[in-house]
């Protein structure tokens, strides 16, 4: 997964930081963002292959953030991160152009699989 650039957006700090660390350990260029606003700022200045977006965040939620990202850089693949109670947001995200959704808490392998598929799609490899 070398060369893969991932932005992980989640308001839960411990969760976010740990995931970012684990992604980096797998040679992924991973960054974290604690809110939708922050994510948009980062996306404006940086290029990513895949963005993982939590749907439930204070302030701008995942769906809103997804809309902005898709306007700004439609080529970036987005994976929605949902709780079990908010699967419908995941589905809604997919209607708005997200690649897929993953229910949390999910084992990292599952998330990695999905990220990889999204990356493949972006590279036209699928």
């Amino acid at each position: 997964m070398e060369g893969l650039r991932v932005l992980f957006v989640d308001d839960e700090e411990d969760f976010r930081e740990t995931i970012v660390k684990r992604l980096k350990a797998r040679k992924i260029q991973a960054m974290g963002a604690e809110s939708g606003i922050r994510a948009l700022e980062i996306v404006k200045d940086n290029d990513f292959d895949v963005i993982v977006l939590d749907v439930k965040m204070p302030g701008m939620d995942g769906i809103e953030t997804l809309r902005h990202i898709k306007q700004m850089k439609p080529e970036i693949e987005v994976i929605m991160l949902t709780g079990h109670a908010s699967v419908e947001f995941g589905l809604k995200g997919m209607q708005l152009g997200a690649f897929d959704y993953v229910m949390k808490p999910a084992p990292l392998t599952e998330l990695l699989d999905t990220i990889n598929q999204a990356w493949n799609k972006k590279r036209g490899l699928h």
Partner: protein, 563 residues
Amino acid sequence: MGRKYSRLWWRYFLAIIGFSVIPFLFVHLSLSTLFDRIYTARVTESLRTSVENRRDAIDLFLNERITQLFTVANTATFPELTDEAALGRLLGILRARSDYYTDISIIDREGNHLASAGTDHDLLKSANSRNEPWFNEVRAKGIHIGDLCTAHRTSPHATIAVMVRDKKSPLILRVSLNPKGINDLVQQAWTGTIGDAFLVNSKNRLQTVPRFGGEFLTAPTLSRSAAGSSEPVLYPDLSSTVKTRVEQLSLGGTNVFLAAAPLRNTGWVLVLKQNRDEILSPLVKGRYWMALLTALGLAVIAAGAALFTNGLINRIRETDRENAAKSDMLLQANKMIALSKMAANVAHEVNNPLASISETAGWLQDLLAADDLAASPNFAEFKDSVEKIEHHVERARKIIHNLLGFARRIEPAREDFDINNLLDETTGLLENEARYANIRIDKQYADNVPVITSDLSQIQQVVLNLLNNAIDAIGSNGTITVGSHFLEQNDTVEMWVADSGKGIPEEELDKIFEPFFTTKAVGKGTGLGLSIAHGIIEKLGGTMRVQSKAGEGTVFTITLPKN
């Protein structure tokens, strides 16, 4: 409860009775009054006709006599009339056809008796009639009919006198009649068993002897026995009657009809008496029948009202029961909604820290994979601990997953889902409870069960309810079998929950889906009654049935259409 319905019963019953009986009685009373009046009018009319017919018959009788006398008087010669032997022959001729004549006399214009036949001649001869009222009347009018009297005779008799227009000097022909002819005519009006009839003269003296009491030539009275009183009762004075009349009055306590008609030839009045009760007996009988019919009608109304009220009250009772069941269902549904919201909140709040724990453990795993740590003396302990953390996070994750799956949505919905997954999720919620009770959960899923479209959460509730019941039925140590099956020919899926519990007695098996039926102690159970479960499945187009054998266990089978 029972008193409320019984009071309601009486209220409706009396209202129906009131509204139907009052018009009924009103009709009955007005009809019977009308009938009464019409019948009385008919009776009065018939009495009037009766008395007039009888009066005409008597008048006719008297007219015949007068005609006979005129004929005799105007065909006999003077010597024949004054010769007693010839007069006797004349009397014989008269008597031959009319056996009423007792005697005949000829009187001159001075009032002297010239001759007579059929009577004591001497007694009559000595009497001069010049000053008597009848003598003057016959001289003035040419005819006189006298009241019945006993004058100069041994028995009552009536007299008729006519003028004989002789050329030399006028004579008066006078006969006396025995009362038999008139009596016969009057007595023909003694109708029924107590009908009476008699003649009175202008001074209200009896001219014929009535059937019940009263002496000849006295004022008419009703005898004690006929009047039913201690004293004879005097009739009202009808002697001055000039026109036929019919009256209804009380005579010594007895209601009677009196009809009176004046005779045309004399000052006599014919009186008819008829007992009211007797003459109106058809009316009384009619009233009796009417009362009987009314009583019958009232009985029918009462029975109908009772039947109708019974039906009505049963309907009300049924509706009340349904409403109670419905409100119970609503209460349960509200409870479920509150419960599911709480469960969703708890699950969500627990989910985030759990995700962090999971990832942190994952990071530790990552770190342990690095070579430098593998050499650490506690490497095995680290690895074991992290794996345990991950294992328990996974357990918690499953619990949350199941809890959310159960709580996700309560509102009716249609969505596609897999029956086997649903059974897995639902049994997952109760696995711990079952394990503590040493109950094994056996899964017998068919592989070919298709995805169905129905209300996932409602079906999940039903299955949860069945599983809870199964655990309760077993108590401890036993097996619950959960299974699924696809019925291709009907395009339906079947799932069942079987337990190895105590079973349900046959007599309770029929009632098991009825509201409020429970064998559990108060306060136990999931809150979802089997009746509600049954209702949910039926609403979704499926069926739910139960089979049970005491001592062997119970099987609940749910069938659902694929779509």
